[in-house]
Symmetry: C2
DNA sequence: GCGCTTTGGTTAAACGTTTAAGCAATCAAT
DNA sequence: ATTGATTGCTTAAACGTTTAACCAAAGCGC
């Protein structure tokens, strides 16, 4: 093979550089510029396919970049551009299927647009959540997508995010008062669906183990339950509505409470799957027949609802779509230079997945 | 209250600045410097509690910083210092309890030291894993903590990380060949524990649904199984050792395969909990009594093993400790200026959690 | 061969920190 | 009074990109 003098010259400069870089740090735009005897600015433009750079130069730049194993320094470009291309995500915990699925979908959408996500967990603690916000702001994220901890009532920290002009998108657990984008399912209607379903199965006395009233979504589920019960002229008994932290353990306790009633319910709608699992365990242990003696419906469609015996009917919250919408909503904000947020709700219809725990009674 | 002339002067400058910043961007070190009529360098030093700055100035700086709602720009300091204080984490998926627990512990340890983590999922795909490595390198992470995808056999991409001088720590699924730090449990011994336990329960013909042989941990589990079977003079039959992808679905298939044998086993040790769940479903559906007709042991101690009927015995992999150790191992590397990695294994003993699926037979 | 556009770059400043080096003022000791 | 150390800052460069502004050379129409 015959090389032109030019090519040989280039090769020499290159190898000189490679040797020089050998034990040194990473290659920069400057190194490429030096090899090709052009300015760093030209290299930057070449790499960004600027129209003011000749095709020849672009090719050469790409070639040298490859040979020097060049990786752009994201920090430098982020600093210069004032954008980190990082998005913070805050969830109560990642080991629930709902949140992990939402996250995965956020990630997929954002990665395609050159964004990375930083996931943080609040463990349902308000303090941890504030910490998370601080670290995310510190890391200069371009936006925050969050689902609030159960404990969170004080919204000051989220106001801080807003005041910094950083797009904030809430999902699942959100607050109207913040006046930002929100994506979630229709909790009120979901409760209606569940009650309707249980009525169709012949249930006459339906209890509800709900979440904390101060969390809007749980409050909506409670309201939906109450209205649906009224609609069907069923007994609306105070002892049939119980507030719970919705952990498995608390689900056990609250189920026991229902079983201890003089006038037991014949169905129970639990506002969270983990608590529904606790309820199921208690029922199984005490040989209460499901669904004959007690029908059971959960909320969230966690995978284990299909694994336990009997399988638990539940509400599918469309985690994938929630994640995708949250990501797209952020991207829309990111495209605009001026960020103006207002209450903008995207409410999806949920889907009732009927399983053994509430299957038709004979 | 009486203010000194100085204080009033300061207050004036401050309010001037606050007004100026009002609709503007975030406050910087320069703004603080301007308010106090000192150099930005002095501000930086004051904020870092440098001994060469007077206590008086430090106090003033802190006060103004607070009033201006100053947040240090992480990007700038990272660029200058050549450290991003970001650590990349790669896992097959986050919705397994094992990984989510490891991650949570990594996060806890690293946050305390001022590091943030970026979590990425490979979904068991080699290609996605390579992508993840690229984005992490692009984001200038200071280190990578990873558990490999099932598919991964080619180690070139991980070599790339090593060659950039970025600390690499593997856990659970790792490769000796890479000569980096590794944290995991003793898979070989765990298999011994399981077989031993099943023998004690009176099982005479123990099958193994294992993972892919090319993944070292699964290979070790198989070797452990084989050696333990030999040790107890039990039948070591080729049809009793099945390779599986260890998904729930594949667990079902492989369990069926075992049930179809002329000479059925009386126990099966499944190298993953999800596959064990599939096996359990098949056994339940076909009314094979567990553990009387078929004892069952899983691996991983996923929470659902305690939720299903009957509950599944499994191996607890000490996810919390693995996460903590991985984080600490990274921190040790980070402290040193020169990074020299070598094969350094930390092997923890696992723990067998006996549940109903293998409880003593009468 | 004059102005005018186009091409293909270059120069220099900027992003917000950190930090080595420098320097003036004060103080301590001789 | 002189030297030397200490205190408390300042100056300026650097990290690796991006980008606005500028400019030289070539091409073009007439």
């Amino acid at each position: 093979m015959i090389y032109s003098t030019k090519a040989i010259y280039l090769l020499k400069r290159l190898s000189k550089y490679i040797i020089k870089l050998g034990n040194k740090k990473k290659a920069t735009i400057k190194d490429i510029a030096n090899v090709l005897n052009i300015s760093p600015a030209a290299v930057s433009k070449a790499l960004h396919d600027d129209s003011r750079i000749s095709e020849k130069t672009k090719k050469a730049v790409r070639q040298v970049a490859k040979n020097l194993n060049y990786q752009p320094n994201h920090l430098a470009s982020a600093l210069r551009k004032g954008k980190s291309h990082l998005v913070g995500v805050i969830v109560p915990r990642t080991n629930s299927n709902f949140f992990s699925s939402v996250i995965q979908n956020i990630e997929e959408v954002l990665n395609k647009e050159g964004y990375n996500i930083i996931i943080t967990q609040s463990n349902e603690s308000y303090k941890k959540e504030c910490n998370n916000i601080d670290t995310l702001l510190f890391t200069q994220v371009d936006g925050i997508i969050a689902s609030m901890a159960n404990e969170t009532v004080d919204l000051d920290y989220y106001e801080k995010v807003k005041s910094k002009g950083i797009p904030l998108i809430l999902f699942d657990r959100g607050e109207n008062d913040l006046n930002v984008d929100y994506i979630g399912i229709n909790d009120y209607d979901s409760s209606h669906m569940i009650v309707e379903h249980l009525v169709n199965q012949g249930c006459k006395r339906i209890a509800h183990i709900g979440g904390f009233k101060h969390t809007r979504i749980y409050n909506n589920r409670i309201r939906g339950y109450v209205d649906a019960i009224k609609k069907h002229n069923l007994p609306l008994d105070n002892e049939l509505i119980i507030e719970s932290s919705l952990t498995t353990e608390d689900g056990r306790l609250k189920m026991q409470q229902l079983l201890d009633l003089n006038n037991r319910p014949d169905a129970v709608y639990v506002a969270g799957d983990y608590a529904a699992l606790g309820a199921l365990q208690v029922l199984n242990e005490q040989n209460v027949k499901i669904p004959e003696d007690m029908a059971l419906v959960g909320f969230g469609d966690e995978p284990f609802t299909g694994m336990v015996t009997p399988t638990i009917s539940s509400i599918n919250q469309h985690s994938a779509e929630i994640g995708q919408r949250a990501a797209h909503t952020f991207l829309e904000h990111a495209k605009k230079s001026v960020i103006t947020q207002s209450l903008n709700k995207q409410i999806l219809d949920a889907e009732l997945v009927v399983r053994a725990s509430s299957a038709i009674k004979k």
